[in-house]
């Protein structure tokens, strides 16, 4: 028997014979012309490998990477390296959470259902909104689904998006909207790097979307967004960061209709970008138009509290082409991980994570400006990420390459001269001091930027 198959071929043949079937006839129904015969299987091992061989091969691949726990990294731009408490892995690796599926049979899935219900509750408490779904693939697809929801609700076909949105998200929305025959209009940021004063008027917009903190880390004031949307019979959408909500006003508090985003910062490993876990929350009036699974509380035949998947009349397995979305799978396990992160940290812990991240970003920004080599790109307060610009030109790619030799993964070069840097509570003052000293040294003394 191969791999993890528990019944040998001999036993299999015997079982089949006991009910009048033959092993060699199992695939007779497949026409000969499409049966696999002599094919070139380059790239596929002929025989299976042992567990030891698999470990050797994959460990070798893993060791070919340079990693953020061994290098000093300043990358963010949508995925952030926050500390993940040890408890999380212990719980989500329990097979009852790990190996089960979508809770179709409520009686034997109360664990997953209650965990999803609690996720929804946490998301509502953080975003200040009424209804959350059970999660979506990632922050980018959540933004796309949010805007599709906006178009369904308003029956209009054009949305406006501030350029402060993560470009990966914008690209995703454009892909979804092109396929759906809907229109996307992108508005440039103002000179301060925010959306203030940039919202277009007109009653043909289904919705307006901004990100806060935006791609450049700047915390947006959402009040103008809400006002503009109300004036134009449109809906307001904010792609937001859940950790930042421990410090800043929530979208719901300001009156925003929909909040969406990426919950990876809540203790989910970087994993080279995935899997991720998107969230989507909205005002009550949008409940029956939400995409994706939703868990609800009810009672059983004896009156005990029970949890079920609910409002399924929205979904593809019932409504087929008339469904609110094609979504079937959500990201339940990661939503549970994020929920455990929130439970472990509580309001006090989450606030500390947010404040430390902000304090360290502000510290690093100040130090870089002090070198006289950089200037702020925008003069507005940021959260844990910011953009700086080389004062005297040069190539950040060259600087980043040189930093790698010193075991540092520098910020994201948005152009030759603009550098986007992120830090979290994990970053130490010493690491930042050393980093700034090295950067200064490389530019001043070693002239790595070239002329």
């Amino acid at each position: 028997m191969s791999g993890y198959i528990p019944i040998s071929r001999e036993k299999r043949a015997e079982l089949l014979e006991s009910v009048g079937l033959k092993l060699e006839n199992l695939f007779d129904v497949i026409p000969d012309e499409i049966k696999i015969k002599d094919v070139n299987f380059s790239g596929l091992n002929a025989k299976g490998l042992s567990e030891q061989e698999i470990i050797a091969q994959l460990t070798n691949l893993a060791e070919r990477n340079q990693r953020v726990d061994q290098y000093d990294s300043y990358l963010g731009a949508g995925f952030y390296d926050h500390y993940s408490p040890a408890v999380i892995d212990h719980i989500i690796n329990r097979q009852e959470f790990l190996t089960s599926y979508t809770p179709y049979q409520a009686e034997m899935s109360q664990g997953t259902l209650q965990a999803i219900f609690e996720w929804q509750s946490y998301i509502c408490r953080l975003t200040g909104l009424d209804v959350s779904n059970s999660s979506i693939y990632d922050g980018a697809s959540a933004a796309a689904e949010a805007l599709l929801l906006v178009c369904r609700q308003t029956k209009k076909s054009k949305v406006w998006i501030s350029e402060g949105l993560n470009p990966e998200y914008l690209a995703t929305i454009k892909t979804y909207f092109h396929a759906a025959g809907l229109e996307v209009e992108v508005g440039a940021l103002n000179e301060y790097g925010t959306a203030a004063g940039t919202y277009p008027a007109g009653d043909d917009y289904a919705g307006y979307l901004i990100q806060s903190p935006n791609f450049f880390g700047i915390v947006e004031d959402m009040r103008e967004l809400v006002k503009k949307a109300e004036q134009n019979q449109a809906l307001s959408v904010v792609s937001c960061d859940l950790i930042s909500l421990a410090m800043f006003k929530s979208p719901g508090e300001v009156g925003v209709d929909i909040a969406c985003g990426e919950a990876q910062p809540l203790g989910i490993p970087l994993n080279f970008g995935g899997p991720a876990v998107g969230f989507l929350a909205a005002k009550q009036k949008l409940m029956r138009k939400m995409p994706g699974r939703i868990a609800g509380q009810t009672t059983d035949t004896e009156g005990k509290i029970a949890y079920v998947l609910t409002l399924q009349a929205r979904e593809q397995h019932i409504r087929r082409e008339k469904a609110t979305s094609n979504i079937c799978t959500n990201q339940a396990l990661l939503a549970t991980a994020a929920t455990i992160y929130l439970a472990l940290n509580g309001s006090a812990g989450l606030k500390e994570v947010a404040e430390q991240s902000a304090a360290k970003a502000i510290y690093l920004h100040g130090k870089l400006i002090q070198t006289g080599l950089f200037e702020a790109v925008y003069d507005k307060p940021f959260f844990r990420e910011f953009a700086v610009k080389l004062k005297h030109g040069g190539s950040l790619d060259l600087l980043n390459k040189k930093l790698l030799e010193h075991r540092i993964i520098g910020g994201l070069a948005l152009s030759d001269e603009i550098w986007l840097l992120a830090v979290t509570e994990k970053k130490s003052k010493k690491a930042m001091d050393d980093f700034v000293a090295l950067v200064s040294n490389l530019i001043r003394d070693e002239n790595v930027l070239g002329d």
Binding site: F27, I91, E118, L126, Q297
Partner: protein
Amino acid sequence: MKHQTNLIFDLPQTGENKNRILQKCDVIKPNFPEFYGEDLLRQEDLDIPNLSEIQVLRHYTNLSAKNYGVENGPYPLGSCTMKYNPKVNENMANLPGFKNTHPLQPVETVQGNLTLLYNLEQQLNAILGMDHFTFQPSAGAHGELTGIMMIKAFHEANGNLERTVMLIPDSAHGTNPASAAMAEFEIREIKSNASGLVDVEDLKQKIDDKVAGIMLTNPNTLGLFEKDVKEITGLVHAAGGLCYYDGANANAILMQTRPGDMGFDVVHLNVHKTFGTPHGGGGPGAGPVGIKKILEPFLPKPVVKKIDNANQPKYVLDYDRPQSIGKVRAFTGSFSVYIKTYAYILAYGKQGLAEVSEAAVANARYLLERVRDSYHVPYQEPAMHEFIITAAWQKEKYGVITTDIAKRLIDYGYHPPTVYFPLIVQEAMMVEPTDTETLEGLEGLADAFNSIAEEAAENPDLLKNAPHDMPITRPDETKAARNPILKA
């Protein structure tokens, strides 16, 4: 574990949260109200509880005990392929060298990741008979949408804007029409014939020059192999359409036949079904999409490329793709799920994968024969990896419906099959034991199905009141939808 687990929000907060988890902040916190201005800042703390570690652990450990997983016992949920999820694959995905890499790192620092994705693409090409794969889609339905978008882009690039119709059999997964509708296609439903296969005559009548393509699952959702598949894909191609293979049931055909050889231009896989990555209570899965060369320009970006130039990194991410449909999510995809996929394929190899499909089909065929006398079997074509039985006899004679049988199976300690799907079969139960079911699991399931059929005759109330020994009895779903309580 029958007692109720309080909501986490109802647990008593008995201590100050001293923040045991984080180290002390080693920079001076600035005056935040001054830095940000009062208008932006939250005035009150978040309304989420501060709990101790043991409270949180007990809470979720107790919740987990109210779940049933593949390691508890048989999980014959049809179309979901609930096979064993190898433990070593979890260890591999958790290697710090993979786990601690950021998606925007320079390519020269993630050569291990890119090598893995490149190798996995070669493996999948070989297994499915395709030319390229994209790893971006995060789930099966997401893969469907991505594939359909590429079909749309292909027709647009050829100036065939009038191709607005997607052909979909009436037995298809609900995601198929839902995905096609998201890309603005008009759905034209193809009938199934009395044998449960695509009615080729109906297909012929419904093909015209507005057809953009067809979405087909093979074996189909009745667990039957569409043996006319070459004729079907030929007809659609001849009319100028493209053919989409829904890979939900690919476990049945691994290394026996390939969608590429059946004539399909686009394929999605559910690696959480076919390649044993865990389902996680509903995700994360992954839905890589394979395509033939003609669709290569439209692949989402970036694409992993190998370069044979000594001065450059060997593997790179290619973003320079002017005809690409764009992106369907951020970054390159659910990487850690693909580590598990890769490890799974390595563990089997070509020969082993052929045995996977053989075991999957053999187990289903054996189980079907073992329960055939107890239940109505609507289709007589040979079953592949899953089969449909119904509660038609029990309903007519004893007023027992599929739900009752499913719930009674829970009393026997088994997860029920998929119920009431496909929609074209009344009182359907779709049973998929998978390749990793044990002998005792198969026999136990068969015995349970058969004895439940007897109970239906002798004591139908036993079924109607099932399950009897779970944390809850049957929940009131109507109440849940009518008066939604969706948060605490």
